[in-house]
């Protein structure tokens, strides 16, 4: 008698395709996945508890360490929420700088996401390293401006911490000029690759209804064909003054999510160009009290991070520290549908699907 016995495969916490210390227990039947169970928390630092002990400004570094691939977006989200809570005005130049840095961060983060996705599909790191080329330049720009490459801690409540140095602007110009060409190169590298297309097309399909109901956000939601982008629907930092498009997928598969990200980097380049053109002189920061004491109340501020809606739910009791500090982590919530997608898929497809959701474990665990 022969029967196939299901067995448990432990993917992670240390595994090349989990992008960090993320663990999935998979019940497999041969190469097919029967069931999965996510086990997260290896990087849990209880940020939300720690934040209740610190002032709003002191909490900004936590956002660097939550989504460590998109620190600028995290900074921006917290600052916007705190500004709304404390009713702080932001100078126009600061808003433009924030847009520039947030969009640069989006390009860097999408480059990482797309590169690792192709690596998960089995390309031996070549596309990843090509996409790192621009990411390196962006991180150089960050380093020039605030001295750090990943954990930038750049934005402040009421503006940004520093004015960029003089050599920043020509370097940025150069980067923005060469970016469209480079993005075309990546598109060609991957789009015209039959193997990559065969590995990603019609894999891990999420229907628009499921995506909305499963609280998916960002490229995962847009890849499924739902045109939803907070920069358009709830404009902040003057995004309504910039012209850009929201790319939306047609099928909802891995390939769509990849292409949406790639197209978003193109649009981000456009936004940066417009921001450079329209930036004006002025202060980069408004002065706020050292210990900001917002009125008692609550606010849910959110930005469109590279991974989607990055929300900060702040509750103030009038003291300098937030009474409750909650991060709505898109990486975690985008995983809600992973189990449905992975069931019945083969191991190789599940790995690619996980890569296309683009998780950052620092943000999942916080």
């Amino acid at each position: 008698m022969t029967t196939s016995e299901p067995y448990v495969l432990n993917i992670g916490p240390q595994h090349p395709s989990t992008h960090g210390v993320f663990r999935i227990r998979v019940v497999m039947d041969g190469e097919k996945i029967q069931d999965i169970d996510m086990i997260v928390g290896y990087l849990h630092r209880s940020m939300e508890k720690l934040a209740e002990e610190r002032t709003y400004t002191q909490n900004i570094p936590f956002t660097d360490r939550a989504d460590y691939l998109a620190a600028m977006s995290g900074n921006l989200g917290l600052c916007l929420a705190a500004e709304r809570l404390a009713a702080v005005e932001v100078p126009d130049r600061a808003s433009h700088l924030r847009v520039i840095f947030a969009e640069l961060q989006r390009i860097a983060s999408h480059a990482m996401a797309n590169g690792t996705l192709v690596s998960d599909a089995g390309a031996w790191q070549t596309p990843l390293l090509y996409m790192f080329r621009e990411r390196e330049k962006i991180l150089d720009l960050f380093e020039m401006t605030c001295g750090a490459r990943l954990t930038t801690n750049y934005m402040r409540i009421g503006g940004v911490a520093f004015e960029p140095p003089p050599e920043f602007w020509p370097a940025l110009d150069e980067l923005v000029n060469e970016l469209p060409e480079r993005i075309d190169e990546y598109a060609q590298l991957v789009q015209e690759n039959e193997i990559f297309v065969a590995r990603t097309r019609n894999i891990g399909i999420i229907s628009p209804e499921d995506a909305i109901n499963g609280s998916l956000v960002g490229p995962a939601l847009r890849g499924s064909g739902v045109p939803w982008d907070l920069r358009k629907t709830e404009p902040y930092c003057g995004y309504d003054n910039f012209e850009f498009e929201v790319p939306v997928g047609t099928v909802g598969d891995v390939y769509d999510r990849f292409m949406v990200r790639l197209e978003e980097t193109r649009q981000s380049t456009k936004i940066i160009q417009q921001a450079i053109d329209s930036i004006s002189d002025g202060p980069h920061k408004t002065d706020i009290p050292l210990a900001l004491r917002p009125e008692p109340g609550e606010v849910y501020g959110r930005v469109e991070g590279p991974r989607g809606e990055l929300g900060f739910y702040l509750v103030s009791d009038g003291s300098p520290a937030p009474y409750r500090f909650h991060i709505r982590a898109p990486s975690l919530i985008n995983l809600s549908l992973l189990r449905d997608m992975a069931r019945g898929a083969s191991l190789s497809d599940a790995v690619v699907t996980l890569g296309s959701i683009d998780i950052v474990v620092g943000e999942i665990d916080r």
Partner: protein
């Protein structure tokens, strides 16, 4: 008649072949048994080589050590974990007499055959360099009918295997049986 090297090789190879075959029979671990069975096949190939039958030796390696062993591997992998031991003792009551009868038959045939003893001179004259062409000629000339019958039989087996795989989705054991046969 034979050079000493060949004699030594014969005894070493026979020891390996028979020893590992016995171990296959005696070992409890099915996986170890497969590995030793392959060793036995290889020893057999070596024995063929000592007889200057290079084509048959290579075929032995290709078919038995390379292909049949993989088939056995699949069979083992599709066996449930519980019955993955070498349950030879179950069938020893039937197996022992059958084995004895078969060896008796072989022995009788060996005894009965009038062996064409070649002198060492004749061996030296005989050309062993192109056995393969001779085999090919024989197959497509003298033994053409059996050759064709064998190929038709193989085709039937192939088609049968495909039909079994297509038809019986719920009883996968049939597939393995067809592969084993």
């Amino acid at each position: 008649m034979e050079s000493l090297g060949v004699v030594i090789a014969f005894y070493v190879l026979s020891t390996i072949t028979i020893g590992s075959a016995l171990a296959v029979f005696l070992l409890r671990n099915l996986v170890h048994a497969i590995v030793l069975l392959v060793l036995s096949f290889l020893g057999m190939a070596g024995l063929f080589l000592t007889l200057s039958a290079d084509f048959i030796a290579i075929s032995q390696i290709l078919i038995y050590a390379g292909a049949i062993s993989v088939l056995l591997v699949f069979a083992v992998m599709l066996t449930p974990l519980g019955s993955r031991d070498n349950a030879n003792s179950l069938y020893i009551n039937i197996g022992a007499p059958v084995g004895f009868l078969i060896s008796l038959l072989i022995g009788f045939m060996a005894w009965n055959t009038s062996w064409n003893e070649l002198s060492s001179n004749e061996i030296k004259q005989r050309d062993f360099t192109d056995t393969i062409r001779e085999i090919g000629d024989q197959l497509l000339d003298k033994h053409l009918l059996s050759f064709e019958v064998a190929s038709v039989l193989l085709l039937f087996a192939l088609v049968g295997a495909i039909i079994l795989v297509k038809e019986v989705k719920k009883e996968e054991d049939l597939i393995v049986e067809s592969e084993n046969s």
